[in-house]
């Protein structure tokens, strides 16, 4: 059964190729696209069963397909590596992607680029699966770039509006900044350790580098750069809110299953390296903690439903980074899984709402949709509770409480991180219920024009089930991950809080957020208005709304100077040289054009003179 592993990325890739090259009727397109991902998820389940039933030696399985290239000692293979970590990621990615594809068949039904859309989506999933299964960092990088390319194509999918194209370009360029750092990191790893095979790297790194060695720290920080770009963490998070320009299922796919979790996976995959480089790991935790706060505050002020969700994604990925940084590795992966379920669901339900209100994105113009769109309401509520962490019941609470506990008790944890994570929970609960109250409660502001069909509702219901049930697997999950990704606990006595205590506090904070949201956004909206009425409040609102002025800052700091330099540098020496060549050619054309008089005898005379000169040169020189 494990031998089928290569089919998991291969089938979506083949289907993407078929959809891109051939033309099919719409029904067939939908069938090919959905069934390819369905086949992938079924195979991933089969592989899981066989993996659980008869674990391979060393609890990991490698399938080498062929040698990619051979340059001296450098021999990357096209090979897939399956261990508990990649297994979990692959199953979740394939399954969630399948549900999103199913949903898209109806959501995109009226669109012109139906086939193009599904070709991109399939390629997206195929790249992500390659990234997850790669046994060496080069193949991982291939998947990594494939994911980046598809995100560019899909964010700018409705390319007729230049805004969307700009958003796609921004996503591509900003993530590229991170990718470049990652590439340099790969060079460094290869230079020092002589291989890019991940398992060999993880074996050689501790032999080569002592704890805290400079090269290890540098490699860790460079890989972190790549992860920060792809996962939209501080300071490269600015592309993600703009990525909402794409169709809603794309947002669901980018945020839940593919792309943004790639950075989390990369760091988890190379966790041995980070254990060797405490400063790099600490940087991961700090990036995560800072991002989760900043994005949480930004989410509070947005009026676009999808942008709220975008900032909440950034914030939740921040949680995962925090967990990775403090050494609570399995907690990050559990949160990845539950986040994939509830965030996909939030986007899909939001898509139902947006389509029902005729492309209305503004949450202040929604309201009272509880009765009109019951399925969307209940599933959104479940996912929202899971996101905010309704204790004991929802999946999100299990994973987030685990991270919170890790922030205090894991090897690099501290009470500072714990408090930041706790504030994050308050913010999450606040903005989540703000969204729910504004969209589904209160008075109706817009008419419902379109009711969702079965293909859109079934994925929502399945994901709603998973958003609740996904957390109950925490204990077997941790046990399963143990060989691949152990929990780094702190020394006994260094922890000042018990796990139960931490969870109780988290539950209370969640309730506080819920009540605050109820008071501010449902009971008496005037309170919320009065907060932004005074100058300081308004300025703060503006500041948070613009993502802490990051876009403004980058525009001033990077984009404008660059554009300015490009503009003034138009006529410099090098440009002058090249335009000189062009002008020289034009001149030569003019002169030689004169000889083409069209007179036959002139040509004959030319030939004769040329021959005479040639013979003279041969004879006398």
């Amino acid at each position: 059964m494990l031998g089928l592993l290569w089919l998991i990325p291969a089938i979506p890739f083949a289907s993407a190729l078929a959809l891109a090259v051939l033309r099919f009727p719409r029904k067939v397109v939908a069938w090919i696209a959905v069934s390819s991902i369905a086949a992938s998820s079924i195979i991933s389940l089969l592989v899981t069963f066989s993996f659980l039933h008869a674990p391979p030696a060393g609890n990991a399985y490698t399938e080498v397909l062929w040698t990619w290239m051979r340059v001296g000692d450098f021999r990357p293979e096209i090979a897939f590596y399956l261990d508990p970590l990649s297994l979990i990621m692959v199953v979740v990615v394939a399954f969630v992607s399948f549900l999103i594809h199913l949903y898209s068949t109806e959501f995109m039904a009226g669109d012109d680029g139906y086939s193009r859309f599904f070709a991109y989506m399939n390629l997206f999933v195929a790249s992500m699966l390659t990234l997850l299964l790669a046994n060496n960092l080069l193949l991982l990088y291939l998947g990594w770039e494939g994911v980046g390319l598809c995100s560019y194509l899909l964010i700018g999918f409705w390319y007729r509006d230049p805004e969307n194209g700009l958003a796609g370009r921004k996503a591509f360029i900003v993530t590229r900044v991170g990718d470049t750092a990652m590439l340099i990191g790969l060079f460094l790893l290869f230079h020092d350790l002589g291989t890019l095979n991940i398992q060999e790297l993880m074996q050689r790194a501790p032999q080569h580098w002592h704890l805290g060695a400079g090269a290890a720290v540098a490699a860790g920080l460079l890989l972190l750069g790549g992860a920060v770009g792809k996962s939209a963490q501080l300071p490269l998070q600015t592309w993600l809110p703009d990525a909402m320009a794409g169709p809603t299922p794309v947002s669901a796919l980018i945020h839940a299953a593919t792309m943004v979790t790639a950075g989390v996976y990369l760091i988890a995959r190379t966790h041995v390296l980070y254990s060797l480089a405490p400063p790099a790991q600490f940087a991961v935790a700090v990036v995560g903690a800072a991002t989760l706060l900043i994005a949480g505050f930004s989410a509070l002020t947005q009026w676009d439903l999808k942008r709220v969700l975008a900032y909440s994604t950034i914030s939740q990925i921040g949680y995962m980074f925090l967990a990775l940084g403090v050494g609570a590795w399995p907690a990050a992966i559990l949160h990845f899984m539950t986040h994939a379920f509830f965030k996909a669901l939030l986007f899909l339900a939001a898509g139902v709402v947006i389509q029902a209100l005729h492309e209305e994105h503004n949450i202040f113009r929604m309201g009272g949709l509880r009765k009109k769109l019951p399925v969307a309401f209940w599933t959104f509520l479940i996912a929202g509770c899971s996101l905010a962490g309704l204790p004991l019941i929802t999946a999100g609470a299990f994973s987030k409480d685990w991270i919170l506990w890790g922030a205090a008790s894991a090897a690099n944890g501290s009470m500072g991180f714990w408090i930041v994570a706790l504030i994050g929970i308050l913010l999450t609960s606040l903005y989540t219920f703000r969204m729910i109250f504004l969209v589904f409660f209160g008075e109706m502001h817009s008419e419902v024009t379109k009711k969702p069909g079965m293909a859109m509702l079934i994925p929502c219901i399945v994901l709603a089930f998973l958003s609740i049930a996904g957390g109950y697997v925490k204990t077997p999950f941790a046990h399963f991950l143990e060989t691949a990704l152990p929990w780094n606990a702190a020394a006994a006595g260094a922890v000042h809080i018990s796990e139960i205590g931490s969870e109780t506090v988290a539950g209370l904070v969640f309730l506080l957020g819920l009540v605050l949201a109820y008071v501010l956004f449902l009971r008496s909206r005037s309170y919320a208005a009065s907060l932004t009425d005074n100058a300081a409040g308004a300025a703060l609102h503006r500041f948070w709304f613009s993502d802490w002025g990051m876009d403004w800052l980058y525009d001033r700091l990077l984009v404008r100077p660059y554009a300015w330099a490009a503009r003034i540098d138009k006529g410099d020496l090098i440009d002058g040289f090249y335009s000189g060549i062009a002008e020289l050619n034009v001149l030569a054309w003019r002169v030689l054009g004169l000889t083409e008089s069209g007179r036959l005898r002139w040509y004959a005379a030319g030939i004769a003179a040329g021959s005479i000169i040639y013979i003279a040169v041969v004879l006398f020189l």
Partner: protein, 102 residues
Amino acid sequence: MTEVPLAYGLILGGILFALGLAGLLMRRNLLFILISIEIMLNGAGVAFVAAGSRWGQPDGQIMFLFILAAAAAEVSVGLALLLRFYRQRHTLDANRANEMRG
């Protein structure tokens, strides 16, 4: 039979070639241009034959046969073009065929 010195043959060929070239460059009538080309070809042929006889080899005469064949082909195509040209413009002036200039 006394042998004709090589130089004579080559000089005759050279004169023929120069005459032909001069005619080609000076004449405007296409018919005369064709004739001049024939003279040039024959000049080259004389040079081949003379050289062949100097070395006692048949190659020179064989080359001349090839030149004859090429000249026959050239004349047939050339005359056909010339006829078309005359039908179109009622003149044989080569300078009138200058539409294809750079």
